[in-house]
């Protein structure tokens, strides 16, 4: 009833190849965007914006980045956290050197640096696959973390060894970053960047380049015999993936954390992004949002939900319970539904399409 594609005839391939070929999907995404743009910023508390929505959107972008590499191109990576760090430090240096340039420009440029680093650490993927590749990306993770600690130039010889986000103004005289920036401003900038980059990634994955990634993922030998150059396909996946990680890392520091030590980009962050990718669904952009929302919101829901039903527990316990739930779910999903929440979502839509005639 609610979700039918019958009667919606496509008369051109253009219409058939649209991102949302079904009318109900278009209406749905329009509602979601309208809520994100008009409702959430004006009707929610600063806490919801600063501690839930902003980090959720930023981590969703990082998850999309890892999904490009692991979900679409099939190259496992454990270095996402470090690539996010490269973006953050690059953005910090850029805004130190060119303080007058709009910070959003710096954030978008800082991804290019992490893309470059990503390409370098992607080179082993031409020779090794799977778990072994994951180990080389682990090397990237530790090497880059070491750089963040040992190269004082990166944090402007700051005595604390951390990067502190300076106040930057832009778009008129609006305070965009720094402690005085309002959550609504930060939210809108993050939202805009995430929406635009998600759309661009969608364009890549539905075109020739995205198909090349999936060809390498599904059957690399056949892909080569069709004319895909593995070198180009894999390195472009590393570049795009690291770019997105870098941009999200820069936003993570400049719009969420406010200040960051090297430990902010430790292996724990890489694993968090990997779990978001797996739980959300490998090879699905909408799944990246599901995964990021789920893992980011779970501890918060537990923290506020458990006392509400009369279970009083400490913050530490909530943290551990959340970790246990996520761990159990990862195992469950890997065994039962490797394509994650995104697959459940599409199954649900499939059921809805034929309801109430499940055999139609």
């Amino acid at each position: 009833m609610l979700y039918r594609e019958s009667g919606q005839y496509k008369t051109s391939y253009d219409a058939d190849q649209a991102i949302f070929p079904i009318r109900e999907d278009r209406i749905g995404i329009a509602i979601i965007l309208a809520v994100a743009v008009f409702v959430i910023p004006w009707f929610s508390s600063d806490f919801l914006l600063s501690s839930i929505m902003i980090p959720f959107l930023i981590l969703a972008l990082a998850t999309i980045g890892l999904n490009v590499l692991t979900g679409y191109a099939g190259q496992l990576s454990l270095g996402t956290g470090a690539f996010m760090g490269v973006g953050a430090y690059a953005c910090y240096k850029l805004t130190t050197i060119f303080p007058d340039v709009n910070i959003v420009v710096h954030i978008l440029l800082s991804g290019i640096f992490s893309a470059g680093i990503g390409i370098v650490f992607g080179l082993p993927s031409l020779r090794i696959k799977g778990l072994y590749l994951a180990v080389t990306t682990l090397a990237a993770q530790f090497f880059l973390e070491w750089c963040f600690i040992r190269i004082p130039w990166l944090y402007n010889y700051n005595a604390s060894g951390a990067i502190e986000v300076p106040e930057r103004r832009g778009f008129g005289d609006l305070i965009v970053t720094g402690p005085a920036a309002s959550p609504i401003t930060r939210y809108y900038i993050v939202l805009a960047i995430v929406i635009v980059l998600t759309l661009l990634v969608k364009n890549i994955v539905r075109g020739r380049i995205g198909r090349q990634w999936m060809m390498i993922r599904d059957m690399d030998i056949a892909a080569e015999l069709i004319g895909v150059r593995p070198l180009w396909a894999k390195l472009s996946a590393f570049a795009v993936s690291s770019y997105l990680a870098g941009v999200s890392g820069a936003m993570f520091v400049f719009f969420y954390l406010g200040a960051a030590e090297p430990s902010a980009f430790a292996i724990a962050l890489s694993f968090q992004i990997l779990f978001m990718t797996i739980l959300g669904g490998l090879g699905s952009l909408v799944g990246s949002f599901f995964g990021a929302a789920f893992i980011w919101a779970l501890p918060i829901v537990l923290r506020t939900g458990l006392p509400a039903i009369g279970v009083n527990v400490g913050a530490e316990v909530v943290f551990h319970v959340a970790q246990m739930v996520v761990g159990a779910l990862i195992i469950l999903f890997l065994i039962v539904e490797p394509h994650g929440l995104a697959r459940l979502w599409s199954l649900g839509k499939e059921k809805l399409r034929v309801w109430p005639f499940p055999y139609a």
Partner: protein
């Protein structure tokens, strides 16, 4: 059959060769893996426009021969001349770029992609719009995508697989997967199409369909075909010339009739008492 097919412009690129000219020539090729000689000193040729069968008992080196032709294996000795250009080694994507397409003995489709995307993937080498346009998916890149979709739809019509266009190929039955794989190879618009056991594991009806498709590809699109097949009835019916391998050596070469009456071939297949 669909009337539109008559106007399909799927045909091999004009390479200056006339039907009957030598398209691919294999000269004294030897390939070994360590001490195992997979192919020893084999020479044969494939003429433009013909259907050339490669047959032989299991382990005769047939698939290795195809792998050598499309650059997946590099022979230790010998030269391969394709459309007048001699080469001793090349990369698989170079073979693809020069007009050699291939299907596999064990279906090698991209399991996570739909039928449509699988066949679209065959167009990879013919799509040139750069990263910038791809990202924007606007203007040239969008037009290119639609232009190639038209071509892919022609192939889908030709192979009569319209109903599974959007189905992930992993869910398709084996016979249809084989057909999609042929479609993917056809999407490359190859000059030379290598088919590795296109009818393995099929029932009679599916074999008849596949034979018809192979003959149509050959006659309508003018594609030269080299195929490996174990079903002798099919081989004798559809191929113009047959080369027979056994233990990596060539033991017979000629028309189906010649090969059928060749004593070495009969011995290889039926065994001989020593």
């Amino acid at each position: 059959m669909n009337a539109r097919i008559q106007h399909v412009e799927l045909h091999a690129d004009d390479d200056g060769l006339n039907p009957g000219d030598v398209m691919l020539k294999v000269d004294n090729v030897s390939l070994s893996f360590g001490g195992v000689k997979a192919i020893s000193d084999i020479s044969f040729d494939i003429l433009k426009g013909e259907i050339r069968a490669i047959i032989g008992p299991n382990g005769a080196g047939k698939t290795s021969m195809l792998n050598v032709i499309n650059g997946f294996y590099h022979p230790q000795e010998g030269v391969i001349t394709f459309r007048g250009k001699a080469r001793s080694r090349m990369q698989p994507y170079e073979a693809a770029a020069s007009g050699i397409a291939r299907t596999f003995q064990n279906v090698a489709l991209f399991k996570g992609m739909s039928t449509l995307d699988n066949i679209m993937s065959g167009r990879t080498l013919r799509m040139h719009k750069n990263f910038f346009w791809q990202v924007l998916h606007f203007g040239p890149a969008r037009n290119e995508e639609i232009e190639h979709r038209l071509k892919v739809e022609e192939i889908i019509d030709f192979l009569e697989i319209q109903h599974i266009r959007k189905t992930p190929v992993g869910k398709l039955p084996y016979g249809l997967q084989k057909r999609v794989e042929l479609g993917r190879a056809l999407a490359m618009e190859p000059d030379l199409l290598l088919l590795d056991e296109p009818m393995a594991g099929m029932n009679l009806e599916e074999k008849e369909d596949m034979s018809r498709f192979i003959l149509d590809v050959n006659s309508q699109m003018g594609t030269t075909i080299a195929l490996i097949e174990h079903d002798m009835g099919v081989v004798m019916d559809i191929s113009d010339r047959v080369v027979v391998l056994d233990y990596g050596r060539k033991i017979g070469d000629g028309s189906p009739e010649d090969v059928k009456n060749n004593q070495d071939v009969i011995d290889a297949y039926l065994g001989v008492s020593h």
